[in-house]
């Protein structure tokens, strides 16, 4: 067999892939139990998702959901914090807490033989946390240390400041970790109240994926979560109108060798009918390695290690943002190029057929690999719960994406990208780049306090 190197081989027929079915039931408390059988390896991943998150932080208490979630593994019932972690260690569990704007998620992965003990520990953490004063003061103190350290991390400063710029006092106006002033004032009562009000079974789904069957998981859950009940408070509401931030903002980081950039605006929610078209259009714009933005800033100019754009689809409209870290001397140029790309994809250089086919193929042909491990499947299933998606959203994804036309891509770019309304944030060396910024035509750069704890938007 000799190889023809005059052209690339074309892929053969696609082997079929079907998303495994989700078995469902509910406990009398309203806790939903969803399982997916994935017996490849004797491992089970549990994901406990509460559809209340940082957006449900009370107005004056940013960071409360995250701190409450962080307290869940600090002991329960008769177990101290240390004993809880010894118990997790004895079953070799991999445990993780994740708090986003719309949800709190505990993930626990164990060997199949520890399924029952894993489920019981997860239930202890969520339903019966001790939430004691001594543990609380320790955890809060560590959280304050973390906030202090994050002041030196350019990406973290950019995330926190950009959220505030875009959203102001809206529930999405802070990152889950909150800020120093707020966290410093929390009491253990606040945490207990948040747990009692928001972390309730009626807004929670227990997802189990792996070498397990639904009946067993249902039985284990009904035993382990017994006694946990109640309705959660209402979902977060947008409340006050969004602010109109300055077009150009800078956080000073003297001597920084690179500028951390965010450029964007509030865009679409997960339930937008334009979801699939936006995902496809973004692949061309900045959603993959071979996108226009990365090709421009990395491929042609070499001024960054990577530049990406994304729509963060949430329950309420989430941000569209470019993120990149660019060498200091190229800051103004990178901003100019990015804004030009956003304008161009709407009109001057709309998405071409070839670009769209590449983006669509990248999204669809390898779709199966997103469902290889128990944790991947659990994450996918959690999206259904988080955004009230239909069960067939995975089965339909490929055909929905394949149906997107270049006209559709252009239409959603026009509708959801609005360059004149975009806000640019730079975390970088003001002295080195200030002069260049004047040429961008974005007006005077607003200097934002370098400590995101102080910046109130």
């Amino acid at each position: 067999m000799t190889v023809d190197r005059s052209r690339l081989p074309s892929p053969g027929a696609v082997r079929p892939f079907t998303f495994p079915p989700i078995a469902r039931s509910s406990l009398p408390s309203g806790l939903r139990v969803w399982t997916v059988r994935h017996p490849a390896i004797p491992v089970v991943t549990f994901m406990l998702l509460v559809t209340r998150g940082a957006a449900n932080d009370p107005d004056e208490q940013p960071g409360l959901a995250a701190l409450t979630a962080d307290m869940l593994d600090e002991g329960s019932g008769g177990r101290s914090a240390i004993e809880m972690h010894e118990a997790l260690g004895r079953i070799g569990a991999q445990f993780d807490t994740d708090v986003g704007p719309d949800g709190v998620m505990l993930t626990l992965t164990v060997l199949g033989r520890f399924t029952e003990r894993g489920c019981a520990l997860l239930a202890d953490m969520m339903a019966r946390p001790t939430l004691a004063e001594a543990d609380f003061s320790r955890v809060r103190r560590l959280r304050l240390h973390r906030l202090a350290q994050l002041r030196d991390v350019p990406g973290a400063v950019a995330e926190r400041t950009f959220a505030k710029l875009l959203y102001g006092t809206h529930p999405y106006g802070h990152t889950p970790i909150g800020d120093t002033q707020s966290v410093a004032q929390f009491s253990v009562d606040d945490v207990q109240a948040f747990h009692a009000r928001e972390l309730r079974p009626a807004s929670t789904v227990l997802i189990a994926v792996g070498a397990c069957d639904h009946e067993t998981i249902h039985r284990l859950a009904s035993e382990a979560f017994a006694g946990w009940d109640g309705e959660a408070g209402p979902p977060a509401e947008p409340g006050r109108p969004l602010p109109l931030p300055p077009r150009l903002n800078i956080v000073s980081r003297p001597g920084a060798p690179q500028s951390e950039l965010r450029i964007g605006h509030v865009a679409a929610s997960r339930d937008t009918p334009d979801y699939h078209a936006l995902v496809a259009m973004n692949m061309v714009l900045g959603g993959q390695f071979v996108s226009r933005i990365n090709q421009n800033l990395r491929g042609d100019k070499g001024v960054t290690y990577g530049a990406y754009t994304g729509f963060d689809f949430r329950r309420m409209p989430g941000p569209f943002a470019l993120q990149a870290s660019v060498q200091t001397g190229a800051t103004a140029r990178a901003i100019h190029e990015s804004l030009s790309e956003f304008a161009a994809i709407r009109e001057a250089r709309p998405v071409t057929g070839a670009e769209l086919s590449l983006g669509v193929a990248a999204l669809t042909r390898g779709y199966a690999r997103n469902f290889e491990t128990a944790a991947q499947i659990a994450r996918a299933v959690s999206q259904i719960a988080l955004y009230d998606l239909p069960d067939d959203c995975f089965a339909q994804f490929v055909s929905r994406i394949e149906r997107i036309t270049t006209q559709e891509a252009t239409r959603v770019a026009m509708r959801h990208l609005d360059p004149p309304r975009m806000t640019t944030l730079i975390v970088g060396d003001v002295d080195a780049i200030g002069r260049d910024l004047g040429r961008l035509g974005l007006g005077e750069a607003a200097v934002v306090p370098s400590d995101p704890d102080i910046f109130q938007g």
């Binding site: 390896i41 260690g89 079953i91 060997l111 240390h145 350290q149 001024v303 870290s325 944790a375």
Partner: protein, 434 residues
């Protein structure tokens, strides 16, 4: 528990490992070249990694970006370089195996005709930006460079970080690329794993067709270098950080050598997770640290054990050092408890099994087969690797800690806020890092 495989060595010396797994209709193609930054020399650092970037810039028969055709076929792909090896991988839908093999074999066999000065200059700029982003502009980002230079003697190839020195990256020339490719990027210095939804015979035939004609290159001599540290070294680096941080490190055995697994377990029991001794003492009880962690960093020809702790506000690095050294002394005195040993064993077993969940990517089954083949000449080393952890006992862990973490020969690196050298451990020598 194991990863079933077959091994074939082509006439040109390329090792081909096949692993069947039909649970998902995908195939992982993973290739290791046994070259990393330890094959570099002083004045030429960062080259192996810069070269990795050039592997994505096109080859003779596909002289444009490496990503485009593969992403168009639904692949996910990446590469990485460390001190000992460079790896490249694609995870493709099962129908695109041939494309992935075509692409990998074209850059193994035909890279140089497509290399230009312009590509080289561009990727050097990208790498300089990678360095700024991940090291220079990141808090504590230059600690690794300072620590390696403190631990390893001049000329030892672990003395520099894989990302390299800025001046060396600027000094690199296109000629060096050609020389480097001829020396290291050939079948006899590589190992190819194909794992996933394959028919092994057909897949092997495809591999043979694509890679069989690539000529073997010159044998690559193993890198040899000795490291010993017989005195304590104290270093200090000022950085844009809020809280001072202490790094303590000792030279330890190489990957898979005696004591390596025990030190890995010792790292967990000392400083990883809330039940670890140092977390309980420094963070939980005394509250003098914001965080603490430890790791046995085992590499092909040497290793080092490192403990990292960040001071809580207004607490000193000297306090941290005292607490850490007392806990090490206690581990030397008594060794771990039976409960600690048992937890370590279950956690190791779980981690090994969790690793079997994916065929591709960094750390997936194909990557593991190549790691074991490259470093142990045995792709089936998985269960023996796990056995090292299963067999560890109170006595063997205590013995490794005693042997490697006591006595002279420790590097203590203080990272302190700019303008506050007084916060470093006393008598620390300032490191010039950039």
């Amino acid at each position: 528990m194991t990863i079933e495989f077959t091994r074939h060595t082509l006439a040109n010396g390329l090792d081909v490992l096949m692993h069947e797994d039909h649970s998902c209709p995908i195939v992982a193609v993973n290739i290791w070249y046994h070259v990393g930054s330890k094959n570099e020399s002083p004045g030429h650092t960062g080259f192996a990694h810069l070269f990795e970037h050039l592997m994505f810039e096109g080859s003779e028969h596909h002289d444009s970006g490496y990503f485009e055709p593969l992403q168009g076929a639904g692949a996910s792909l990446n590469g990485s370089t460390n001190a000992d090896r460079t790896n490249y991988w694609e995870v493709v839908p099962a129908n695109a195996l041939e494309l992935a093999l075509w692409m990998e074999s074209d850059r193994m066999g035909f890279l140089l005709p497509a290399l230009t000065e312009a590509k080289f200059a561009n990727q050097r700029d990208v790498v300089l930006n990678e360095r700024r982003q991940n090291y220079e502009n990141r808090p504590y980002g230059l600690a690794a460079m300072a620590m390696l230079a403190g631990l390893f003697p001049a000329e030892h190839p672990y003395r520099w970080a894989t990302i390299g020195e800025v001046s060396d990256l600027h000094a690199a020339r296109l000629d060096d690329v050609q020389e480097f490719f001829r020396r290291y990027y050939h079948p006899a210095n590589a190992s190819l794993a194909v794992a996933g939804d394959i028919e092994p015979e057909a897949a092997l035939a495809l591999v043979g067709a694509h890679f069989g004609d690539v000529p073997p290159g010159p044998p690559v001599e193993p890198v040899r270098a000795a490291a010993a540290l017989d005195r304590d070294v104290r270093l200090m680096l000022e950085d844009r950080v809020e809280l001072p941080r202490l790094y303590l490190a000792w030279l330890t055995p190489a990957m898979f050598a005696g004591g390596d697994a025990e030190l890995d377990l010792a790292a967990d029991l000392l400083a990883n997770g809330k039940t670890s001794r140092l977390y309980r003492r420094l963070v939980f009880d005394e509250r003098i640290a914001a965080d603490v962690s430890a790791s046995q960093n085992s590499r092909e020809i040497a290793g080092f054990f490192q403990i990292v702790a960040t001071a809580a506000p207004d607490r000193s690095l000297a306090e941290l050092e005292r607490g850490i050294m007392q806990e090490i002394a206690r581990a030397i005195e008594d060794g771990p408890t039976e409960d600690e040993v048992e937890r370590g064993r279950v956690q190791a077993e779980s981690r090994f099994l969790f690793r079997l969940q994916t065929v591709g990517g960094f750390g997936g089954k194909s990557d593991q087969l190549n790691a074991y083949n490259t470093f142990m000449s045995d792709p089936g080393y998985f269960h023996r690797d796990l056995d090292r952890y299963r067999r560890a006992t109170n006595t063997s862990i205590q013995g490794a800690v005693t042997r490697y973490l006591s006595g002279a020969g420790r590097v203590a690196l203080s990272i302190v806020p700019r303008g506050r050298p007084d916060l470093a451990l006393p008598d620390s020598a300032r490191v010039d890092a950039s």
